[in-house]
Structures are given as C-alpha cells and as structure tokens.
Symmetry: C2
Subunit: 421 residues, 2 copies
Amino acid sequence: MRSDQELFREIKGGGVTAARGFVANALCCGIKNPKATRLDLALVYSTRPTTSAGTFTSNRVKAACVRVSREHLRRADLRAVVVNSGNANACTGRDGMRVARKECRLVAQELGLQEREVGVCSTGVIGLPMPMVRIEPRFQELCRDLSAKKGHDVASAIITSDTCEKEIAVRFSVGGKEVRIGSCCKGAGMISPNMATMICLICTDAQVSRADLQSLVGECVNSSFNRITIDGDMSTNDTCIVLANGASGVKLTPGRPGWKTFCAALQHVMLQQAWRIVRDGERITKFITVRVVGAPSVAEARAIARGVANSSLVKSSWNGGDPNWGRIIHAVGYSGKRVREERVDIDIAGLPACRGGMQADTPSDDLRARVQAESFEIRIDLNLGSSEYTVYTTDLSPEYVDFNRSEYAYWNQAKQDGLTR
Amino acid sequence: MRSDQELFREIKGGGVTAARGFVANALCCGIKNPKATRLDLALVYSTRPTTSAGTFTSNRVKAACVRVSREHLRRADLRAVVVNSGNANACTGRDGMRVARKECRLVAQELGLQEREVGVCSTGVIGLPMPMVRIEPRFQELCRDLSAKKGHDVASAIITSDTCEKEIAVRFSVGGKEVRIGSCCKGAGMISPNMATMICLICTDAQVSRADLQSLVGECVNSSFNRITIDGDMSTNDTCIVLANGASGVKLTPGRPGWKTFCAALQHVMLQQAWRIVRDGERITKFITVRVVGAPSVAEARAIARGVANSSLVKSSWNGGDPNWGRIIHAVGYSGKRVREERVDIDIAGLPACRGGMQADTPSDDLRARVQAESFEIRIDLNLGSSEYTVYTTDLSPEYVDFNRSEYAYWNQAKQDGLTR
C-alpha cells in the first residue's frame, strides 16, 4: 500500500494560481519607497464561488487587516484577497481600519463582489499610516489584467526581507479527476508560533465544506506554522487564508475517497512553506529541528521545545558550530515544569551528547564535526512519558541583530510622505 | 524627616568583608585553564556564629553546588562559603555532588566547622567534571591566610565574562553603634529573572534572626535580582547567600529601631548589584528600564515587562538606537493576556512615542536623539488598572552573539585534563 505522501505529487513551478479557477495580478506602487521598482500590491481572485478558512495571529495587538479579514471570513466566504508589503497597517487606529475596509471595497466594486467577500493582508513596518495616495489609484488596474500566469508575481509582491519567493503546488487524483493545491507565503522576521509571523495564501480547486475546511486548516497550521520559531517574536499580522473553489469537480468529505490524500497534501504544502520560512530566516545560517520526546504531556514537550528553540545562548552556540549540550539542558530546565535532570538524554545530530543529565561518551570532536552541518536535529528525551513535540528553528547570528538594528529608513520615507512628523 | 535612603552611607572601596568579623582568601588554581594566572577559588568566613539566608535558581536543572548549599542552609547556618569560577559543577551527576560535598568538608575540616556550616558556589561552563586534581591540594592554603583585606580578591575570583569586579558596602548607625553590609557578585551572561543568573554574597555584622533574615532576603531579591534580564536565559547556578554575624553588637528586629534602615540598606545593596550585573552584560551597549504601569494586575505587568525586555527584535532596535515603538507594542501584544491595544501609551526616554495604540505626535528625530543615550526608560501604560512592574535590561548586540558562539576552549582543556573524551 502506498503512503498518503505518495498519493500526491508536486507541480513543478506551481504557485498560488496552480489550481483551476484562480487568477492573480501584482503591481508596483512604491508603498515603502516611491522610487522602488519591486512589486508590492497583489490580488488573488477565484472566478467561482468558494468556501474559505483562515487562521490569524493570537497577538493581542492585531493589524487592521487581520481584524477586517477575520470579520469578513466570519460573515462570508472570501473570493478575493488583496495583499501588500511595505506597510503592516498595524497600530494605525481607526484610520487603519478605514483603509483596510476601503481596500476590500475597492476590490469588491471592481470585481462585482460583496465587500465581505474580500480579505486583506499587509506586511511591513508597524505603526505608520498606509500611503493610500500611492495605492488607491491603482485598484482598477490591479483588478483588470488578472491571469492564472501571475501567481509568481504575487509571491514576489508579498515578500519583505525574505531572500526568495516561497511557492509550492501539489496535485492528486480522485476518481480520475485531478485536484490541485497552490500556495505562496512570506516569512523572514518576527517568526514565532501562534501563528508564525507570516502570510500564507493557499488556493485549491477541491470542493470542501466550510466547516471541514476550517477544521482541517486549524489542524494543519498547528503542525506546521505554529511549530516554527526564528526569533520568538510573534507578529501582529500573521495570516493564513485558504480558498477552495470546487473547479476540479471533486467534492471531498471526511471519510470519503480522496479526503485523506487532501489532508496529507494540504499538510505537506503548509509544512514545506513553514520550513522554507525557517530556512529563509533573516540572516540565519542553520535549520534546526528540536524534537522533545518522552514527555509527560504534549504541553510539557511543547514548552521545552520552544524554550530551547528560543534561547539566545543556545542559538548563539549553534551559530558557532558548538555542540554545547550544557546550554541546551539549562534551557530545558527553565522551560519545563516536570523535568528530572538525571533522566534527560540529549542527542545532537544523531550522536549522544548527554545521558542521564550528564556528558555522554561521544568524543566532543565527533559532535563538533556533526554540528558544522547546515541542518541537524536536537533530540531531547525526558524519559518521563510518551508525549512529544517538534519545533523547527534557526541559529541566532550577529548578522540577524545587525540587520534588525534599525528601520529608520521606513520612518524617514513616511515623513517625506507627510504621514508622520 | 529623612528618607530611609539617607540613613545609610556607602563605604568607599568596601566589599564582601567590609562588615566586622568576616575574613576571606582567594587563590589561582587554573580551574578553567592550568596556565591561567587569574584568581578562581575563594573563601569567605565569619569568625563568629551567624544566621544565614539564601535564594537559589528556580531552574529545574540545578548545579550540584546549588543542591548542596540549599541542603546545608536548611540544616544549619552557614559560617563559610567557598566559591569557584571556571566550572559550574552543573550536570555532573553523583560525582558532581560528591565534589561539592567534598569542597564543603575540606573547608569544614580546616576551619573546625560542621560540613553543613559551609556553602559552595560554582560558576562557569556546564557539564564538565570539576578538575579536583588542581583544586583539592589547595584547600589548606585557602583556609589559612584569611584576612579582612582580601574581600576584593574574592570579587576578582568569582567573575567570569564580567569585565569588572562588582562590590558594594554600606554602613548606618543604630543607637550609636555602626552596622555594615558588604557584598560582591558576578553576572555577565545567562541573566534572567528567578533568580537572575549570578552569584551574590552578602555579609553583615548585624544580628538578625534566621526567620527575619530569610524573609527579608526573599523580598529584596524579588525587587532586585529577579527584575533583571539580559538574554532571558535562567542559569543552573543562581545563588544569593546572606550571612549575618552580629559582630556590630546591634540586634535588629522588625518594628524596632534600625530595622527599616537595615531593610533599605540591604535592598540598596542588592539593587545596586543587580544594576551592575545588567550594565556589565556580555557585550551590551545600553541599560534599559522597562516600566509597565496601569496594569490590571502585577502578574500582567510582569509578563509584559519581561516580554518586552526579552524580545530579540526590540533589543536589536535598541542596539541600533532606533526608537521603534511598533516592535515594543507588538511584544506587549504577545506577552500580555488582557492588553487593549487602543489604550496603550508608550513613552521612550521621557517622550511620547505611542498614544492610544498609535503613533504619537513627537517628531521621530526627537525620539531618535533620545535613544542614542546609554541609558533610558521605556514606560508602557496599559491604562487598565493601577498595578505596575519594572524590569532592568539591555540591548542585544551582534557582539553578544559573536561572544557566545563557542565555549569550545573549555572542552578542549577538559580533554587535556582527561575529564572528557
């Protein structure tokens, strides 16, 4: 019997418009900087009615776009999502809410939709008014010239400090008909679980009920985007929106043929995107999997995995290629509530580094050789139970700090735009 | 009426042996590196019986010395404390416990004390066996030549990546008699509340009951060492030990003359030492006070103050002299449970940066000028209640990460010592 994974295939070069019935466009508005030439405003649109689902940041401080998209998603299914980079529209008060609603209204007017059928995502600096003077005149153009060939432009328009576009699409067959799932996302900084700091758009031509879709999306996000951390900083703008338009002619329902493959495929898309976000973390050099096993509960395993993954000292040692299990166990000790030091085993990149809370026999040069790799696993066995949790993370580099020292350029531009003093 | 602060005076040049009846010694044993010439083993001893109190790390992974000192303190009052740098004696299993007990026993034998009257502190790398071969032969020498003039040597012997000794002593009069409190401490890395990663020794010639002393020490630690964070990493070795030997002839009791001054003086000593630890954080450039007011509870205020103080993104922007209130409010949002974004006010270095969750009118150049200072306050008003909490912290610098990339030199030495493979 084939595994679920083998039932679907990646579509080479596929992105957010890989599934049938989805079109897109992207423009350069100079949101962050009027002289810039990069794409920064994008639209994805389903030519057919959809069901839709979404998950949003659990930060108490939420961007206006998050509030509006959440509200729209509660009241209707989304047919279109407008996304901009260069400004987060966060901490912008009532004006920010008016701007987010206006973006949805402008799209709705052009496409003949209800305002509540449009979602809106923004990413960029927090606290600056959106330069609507440069965006508003472009909505007509944005909503024309829509094409299934412009998925990649959307992927380009939504990235910020990402070094590359993040796209993936998969396909599988159900009863002789092909179902596709396409996606693009952005990450880079402010990456922490619940939800990871990012925007992810996923479009599928499967037909799925709203309730089934929302429930599945929640599960998949918990096993992917909620398991990554770069800097432990949860953003105000995290959004993952999934649209399903049924253009494949395949109706999927739990327990019926094709459902399990759809679940596995959607999970694959999200996990791949989550990993790409981690691998493209701001100025990082390593991709680390922190796996906690033998825990008395999932909550305990999660707290410890996140504690280790977010420790500045542990992350600094990874950057230095130092197999420092002492710093790992110290983070285990302050993150967990029920740790028993004398039972803790730690493997680094497949070699025993710590046994029973003490140094293992592995020669330190062997450990050191292994952690020079770009990617390895830290496996922490608490030997207290059977629960486990995995987090995907990075090292902390001097360059990350240097890169994040100043966003002053944004503020300077905002002053020139007359949006701030 | 004079304030409590005015009732005591600092003793210039005073350290851990400033109070009468305390003597000390320090040696160079080459614990970290046999060729090193710096002091790394120290002893503080009260020539008279004492009462004593202590607080220890709440990390579940505790160094052997912490376990032994805590046990001894439960069973007796400490007359002597032996401290070493260069090795933390943490994650060293039963051998580590044997070593810690042996250190106490060797001191006890030399000084004619019970083993349980000796405390032991260690600081340095985690997970390596203590090189007893270089320490054990030195205990006789350590316990002779004790002198009240060697307080500064103790301060030198206990520091690790600290750039300077941390000593303070104060004096005040009660009924014509002078009471003194002396102290030394070390900090530098792995600094996070509960308790802050550090060792602090405090010796006073006041006579105070064990119960009164323990209760006061707990209070003072909560308002000082538990309010500092450098990297959010709580160590396995945090220890604060206070000895009171009554040599001043002054008996102090709550509600009686001198008690309030004693409380204020002890609080002053701990807060000054906590601040020095922050100011001397590994490769940091700024001292930041994060003050959360208007909170619905102290717990909420504390969670938010610590969240802001530990955010890598916020700390990076401080390093860059960037008055980035957007990153501060984003950390407020993920740290607090009851935040209402539209009520949040943030002042940076005395200027309004955010009002009602939005950008304040202050010109950004004015804010920017202020945060070039080496020291400033971030004041966050939640406008939800009357509780508050203050945390003292630092920026995050590229140099911090670089400094913490590798402890490989330690492991190499341990291999040469035959203590590890």
